[in-house]
């Protein structure tokens, strides 16, 4: 990894009696698209505000490109923020909003005009340069907020749920635009969201937070496919959790009896679960149809839900209930509620999680 753009070490934050952050260690690489993901109140926004300088940590260090900045005010940091509510200045038009940062940095007015023009071109809003924020749609305001931050060419851009207020279509479109933009400008993005899909599709790496702790940091693939804790497994996507006990480095015992293969090398202390994604589980009518080397377990269909592109099954087994997603493809069998069948999965698809 190259030199970290932002590095937090041992950062805690208390608000009176409330402990918002319990000691965050995190290094975000230069040019990385990093997402902080977690439910509301998990501390992700507090982390962002500490990096921006709107709050100061109770303890710990915050370095930006190797320089200690934990106690510097926001205007001393080479960082800009895209706010959740956009926070556009209502008394200034789009042009003056976008030019505000450059004006504060005493850039000469010719250069401000050129750079603001370029930034507005980039977000395709040149034709609304004289509009006031309240005359723009939510999507346009969002793009103004983005231009207002990027025009300053910050070393790090912080984004606090910037797409939260947009409707689904626009949000999906903006996700793609944001990701493209980040790749083009090469600025480090730190993106706060509670939307796991957003985090999975856009990020180079994701940090999952809960109750003031950073639980797991990894690529979207690692986070989704190899969660290490029950919370991360449960928070991201649909997942079935089977209570298990570790019996050997390669085997676990299901609560209903029976050992199944699973990699337990990373198992920590505490209770253990085998986490299985709905799409990695398969249904067949008889044990004979299960490919060799796969884990199998008998079960009974409790519900079936039609999703158009797929069927969703709730299957009851002796080890617990399993959520199974099967593609809706011609030739693939479907099962009615009450059907007895076999569920199977590739042992590599299950992850052992701890709580």
């Amino acid at each position: 990894m190259t030199k970290a753009a932002v590095e937090l070490s041992g950062v805690t934050k208390h608000f009176g009696e409330v402990v918002a952050l319990k000691g965050i260690d995190l290094a975000i690489a230069d040019g990385e698209f990093f997402s902080l993901l977690g439910p509301s109140g998990c501390g992700k926004t507090t982390t962002l505000r500490l990096i921006a300088g709107f709050e100061f940590p109770t303890s710990g260090s915050i370095q930006i490109h190797g320089k200690e900045m934990a106690l510097e005010p926001p205007d001393a940091r080479p960082i800009n923020t895209v706010f959740q509510s956009y926070a556009l200045f209502p008394h200034m038009n789009v042009e003056r909003n976008v030019g505000f940062g450059l004006q504060m940095k005493k850039v000469n007015s010719n250069e401000i005009a050129t750079r603001v023009g370029r930034a507005l071109d980039m977000v395709q809003l040149s034709h609304r340069a004289n509009a006031k924020p309240d005359q723009l749609s939510g999507g346009m305001q969002q793009r103004v907020a983005l231009a207002r931050a990027l025009v300053n060419e910050p070393e790090v851009l912080l984004l606090d749920e910037p797409l939260g207020a947009l409707d689904l279509k626009l949000r999906q479109q903006m996700q793609i635009e944001l990701k493209e933009l980040q790749e083009r400008v090469g600025i480090t993005f730190i993106y706060v969201t509670h939307d796991q899909e957003e985090a999975l599709t856009m990020s180079d790496r994701i940090g999952v937070m809960d109750k003031g702790e950073l639980l797991q940091v990894g690529t979207p693939k690692e986070i989704y496919e190899s969660p290490t804790s029950r919370f991360v497994a449960d928070f991201i996507g649909d997942i079935s959790l089977l209570a298990v006990s570790v019996v050997s480095p390669t085997e676990v015992r299901l609560s209903g009896g029976g050992n199944v293969p699973a990699d337990t090398s990373n198992a920590g202390d505490g209770s253990h679960w085998l986490a299985l994604r709905p799409e990695s589980l398969h249904l067949v009518s008889a044990a004979a149809d299960v490919p060799d080397g796969m884990v199998r377990i008998p079960g009974k269909v409790r519900h079936r839900v039609y999703y158009g592109d797929s069927y969703f099954y709730d299957v009851e087994t002796t080890a617990g209930s399993l959520d199974v997603r099967q593609e809706n493809r011609p030739g693939l069998p479907t099962f009615d509620a009450g059907t007895e069948l076999m569920v199977w999965w590739n042992p590599a698809a299950g992850s052992l999680v701890t709580a």
């Binding site: 005010p73 923020t81 008394h91």
Partner: protein, 292 residues
């Protein structure tokens, strides 16, 4: 037979009933304003075009603009100018004191905030006249300052009956009218905008000038109007604390209705002041809406 439910204009009857209810709710206030504001205003307006007889009686027998002509008298000009200055300084001093205080209140946590607001309002619980007389003692030669200077072996220091005393009294009396609208405006401010300004490299003072101040402008204007207008025509405070040496507008108008027995002149002056205020307000509103 029942009417078909799709008959056009079906909703009209319900809307009319709604309007009637609205009118009834407004009626008491409406009547009150007509009787106690519109009618007296009309009387003053008519009187301003009346004529003062040689004995000082008000004659409505002919249309006369003599009262308005009299307003051009340099004495009236001096009085208006002096009142204007006193009101301007009062407004400026109130603004200077009230803004930081309102800012302080608005940024406290809710419990402290409410306590401070109550403190601002406490003076309203006692009589204005009594409070102004209290100032008469404080500022007089028997007051703390006078006693102190006397103890030091000097002439007892007295502010009473000076323009400074009027100013102190007016600022004291009208400060809450400045604090409250400012508080309301600052409390409504979206602090994320200030954070955004700080994020965009503005230091604290610049963020205040570029964001906080313009966005609380409505409070500054409202407060300034609430202080300036009554200060301009103030009567009680100058009468009690000013000693009637330098005549101000309020006293001058009262004199016209009283001793001078010149109601048309008093009325004309009142009408002109009101007209000037109205025009100033209109200009302010028009330019204010477009600017910033």
């Amino acid at each position: 037979m029942r009417k078909p439910a799709f008959e056009p204009g079906l909703e009209k009857a319900a809307e009319a009933a709604e309007r009637r209810r609205g009118f009834l709710l407004g009626l008491p206030a409406y009547v009150y304003l007509v009787v106690f504001f519109a009618v007296p205003f009309f009387i003053v307006f008519v009187t301003s075009f009346a004529r003062r007889s040689a004995t000082g009686a008000t004659k409505y027998d002919e249309f006369s603009t003599s009262a308005y002509v009299k307003l051009l008298d340099p004495l009236v000009g001096t009085i208006v100018w002096r009142s204007f200055w006193i009101a301007t300084i009062t407004t400026a001093v109130c603004l200077l004191f009230a803004y930081p205080f309102a800012y302080y209140i608005a940024t406290r946590r809710p419990a402290v905030r409410n306590a401070l607001l109550v403190l601002v309002m406490i003076p309203f619980w006692s009589n204005f006249l009594v409070r102004t007389y209290a100032w008469r003692f404080i500022l007089g030669s028997d007051g703390p300052l006078g006693t102190l200077t006397e103890a030091m072996g000097r002439e007892p220091f007295r502010l009473l009956f000076t323009p400074a005393a009027i100013l102190i009294g007016l600022v004291y009396g009208f400060l809450p009218f400045m604090v409250l609208p400012l508080y309301a405006a600052i409390e409504r401010l979206d602090w994320r905008l200030v954070e955004a300004a700080r994020d965009l490299y503005a230091d604290g003072w610049t963020a205040f000038r570029k964001v906080t101040l313009p966005l609380t402008r409505s409070g500054i204007i409202a407060g300034s109007l609430l202080v300036f207008v009554p200060s301009f025509g103030a009567y009680v405070t100058p009468a009690i604390l000013g000693g009637g040496k330098d005549l101000l507008l309020g006293s001058y108008i009262v004199t016209q209705f009283g001793q001078a027995r010149n109601r048309p002149l008093g009325s004309a002056l009142s009408i002109v002041i009101m007209a000037v205020m109205l025009v100033a307000l209109m200009i302010r509103n028009r330019s204010g809406a477009e600017e910033i």
